[in-house]
Amino acid sequence: MPIQVLMPALSPTMTEGKLAKWLKSEGDKVSSGDAIAEIETDKATMEMEAAEDGLLGRILVPAGAENIAVNTPIALLLGEGEASTALDGAMEGHIPSTAPVRAEAPTSLMPAPKAAPTAPEEREHAGATRRMTVREALRDAMAEEMRRDPAVFLMGEEVGQYQGAYKVSQGLLDEFGPERIIDTPITESGFAGLGVGASFAGLKPIVEFMTFNFSMQAIDHVINSAAKTLYMGGGQLGSPIVFRGPNGAAARVGAQHSQCFASWYAHVPGLKVVAPYSGADAKGLLKAAIRDPNPVVFLEHELLYGQSFDVPEDPEWVVPLGKAKIERAGRDVTICAFSRMVHVALEAAESLAREGIEAEVINLRTIRPLDVETLVASVKRTNRVVTVEEGWPVAGIGSEIAALMMEHAFDWLDAPVGRVAGADVPMPYAANLERLALPQPDTVVAACKAVCYRK
């Protein structure tokens, strides 16, 4: 049976083309790989190569013919020892099938499965606690997890001998040695990529960014290498890694060193994004992040490192990712915030209380996946929401929450969702301008009064 030579698709977008020129004539011998014709596509003129050995038996589409659809037979090739009489009738039937076996696929966007927007269970902690700073809580989380699992290691700039640029890894080098507490050169893209590669091999790296501002050097590895590989590999290979470090507004360091990345990373499927507020959050969530088999972006806050809280001592105690916490109950308005803004929200709630408005303050703790269940339940009680974040307003976490409230709690809202965000400007240096650029308790109070229609 002669082989049909088909009009090839020579670019990702080509559906038809012009047969510009035959480079072989009927009767010529061709070997696989020989250029046999020139085809003009929508983009360029390209040579078409023979895929099989044989004799060019018959040309079916003459040179110069235009608009030849991809997969139209353009010539017949005779196999070794095949007589030319076989050419007649070669075109009957026997068009190679190219239509793929279609799975029952809807052609439009397929909605996400409805299952489980419910938040995970959280165990109430009843055991002993100890007063410590957020800085110490983070260090203890890492130390406990490193004792528990030899695959866990910490790497980053100044994490070892210097004891951490912000002293978060204090004492770890002494306990675990330089093989597991690794001082890196200043090479974010390199060590983030190295960490992801090590996680592919089953290690559990904690990669510290001195601050998240510098994670932009490495964002390609966070997103393209860590977040997407599980999906791209059909589940073959995951990346159990934690990227952590201080995020958000620091004090008086100017625009390049003072910025919130929550919304950037929260955009990415395949990542989890966590932003603790208290010492207990910091310890319990970091332990959960290290144990999690997925890449976790763990956003700390420099201005919280020195704050003290009561922190559970039990090394098996963790805070599940994806679970928000009601920090203060109230019936009049829900304020949701994360990281240091929880503190601002709590201060605002105190002054609102003095004016007879009882605010419920929700500490989101995990930004992705968001605990929609807790948010919606709260809004069903208060009927009003204000979001607070340090980041910019455009496509921010507040925008996402506003959309979610519309989708899940529209009928319970008595006012449009209020958003408080960082000013839509690069962070200024001057003390007065910096203060104006960041949400303050009084801005939150004003936003809450607005959604309560109170003066």
Partner: protein
């Protein structure tokens, strides 16, 4: 004071491969060649889409390097990865079915030509961002060292990728920590349409590790035995704890950069000269003939065997169903 190039000592003890090993190399290279030709054909039929970077012409590099490593070693490369996967022993059916985007593909049809992985064969992809596989590979080497498992990592990159900054971040860390990393620069003379001369201030790419004290060496990447010999030396170096090694494979891709490349940046004569004078498969075939290791009938047998494997792969790739729509939502996160 002039900088003296730190060239690794070249150990030219003539490589004494057994006839079986030579025939194995021949078969493996031919399998890649025929597989890629078939992929090109399926692309022409519209069964494969998007970016599809063929490896035709460069077969000796992966086949020679693979012969230099063992089962516990890891491999990582760029998007021009079909040859690497076949050399690692991955199933041609699963690779071809991934190219056609079917459920039977290595990534269930969700990765495509540039993104396949095999934990079983220690193949870690398949990466589409030029240069990104180098720090990732450095991480695999780091894991070998961390676990003290004696393994090495082969990280392949192109002559274009060698100008990415993260490559040098990796060189520095790999040398600093003496990681068992072998960096294989597949210099096929072009990064897309840009020749090495137009992209690289220094075109001796094997010397790119010098600033970090990493030994390097140029290799005739069209000669599978030269590749194997260089690979043996580099692997021995890395495995013995001396740190990374750079191999620059002088090679050539016959086809365009990807399927839609009209290849205007080089002459037809250049391509046909490489094909007729340096083809890695023809060269080995001549050696096998002159040394009386294989005759016409033996080559025919190998041809038939390879063709059958490729035909079976192509059939599987066309009959395997498209992924179930529900797969859209799987493999995003692992259960915690």
């Amino acid at each position: 004071m002039a900088i003296r190039p730190r060239r690794a000592k070249v150990d030219v003890a003539s490589p004494s491969a057994s006839p079986e090993a030579l025939l194995g190399h021949y078969r493996d290279m031919l399998l890649i060649r025929r597989f890629e030709e078939k992929a090109g054909q399926l692309y022409g039929m519209g069964l494969i889409a998007g970016f599809c970077h063929l490896y035709i012409g460069q077969e000796a590099v992966v086949v020679g390097m693979q012969a230099a490593i063992g089962g516990g070693d890891s491999v990582i490369t760029s998007y021009r990865d079909h040859g690497h996967m076949l050399a690692c022993g991955m199933d041609p059916k699963g690779v071809m079915a991934e190219l056609t985007g079917r459920a039977g593909g290595y990534s269930k049809g969700k990765g495509g030509s540039m993104h396949m992985f095999s934990r079983e064969k220690n193949f870690y992809g398949g990466h589409g961002i030029v240069g990104a596989q180098v720090p990732l590979g450095t991480g695999l080497a780091f894991a070998h060292k961390y676990r003290k498992d004696g393994g090495v990592c082969l990280a392949y990159l192109g002559d274009g990728a060698v100008n990415q900054g993260q490559v040098y971040e990796s060189f520095n860390m790999a040398a600093l920590w003496k990681l068992p990393l072998i960096v294989i620069v597949e210099n096929n003379k072009y990064g897309m349409g840009t020749s090495v001369e137009r992209a690289s201030a220094s075109t001796e790419l094997y010397r790119r590790g010098e600033a970090y004290g990493i030994p390097g060496r140029p290799v005739d990447g069209m000669d599978v035995l030269a590749v194997k010999a260089a690979g043996d030396e580099a692997v021995a170096h890395a495995r013995s704890g001396k740190g990374p090694f750079v191999l620059e494979m002088k090679t050539y891709r016959y086809r365009g950069h990807s399927m839609s490349d009209p290849a205007k940046y080089r002459s037809k004569e250049e391509v046909s000269r490489m094909r007729s004078e340096h083809d890695p498969i023809d060269q080995l075939r001549r050696k096998l003939e002159t040394e009386g290791i294989a005759d016409e009938a033996r080559f025919k047998d190998i041809d038939r065997e390879v063709k059958a494997i490729v035909t079976e792969a192509a059939e599987f790739a066309q009959t395997s169903p498209e992924p179930d729509p529900a797969e859209l939502w799987t493999d995003i996160l692992l259960p915690a």
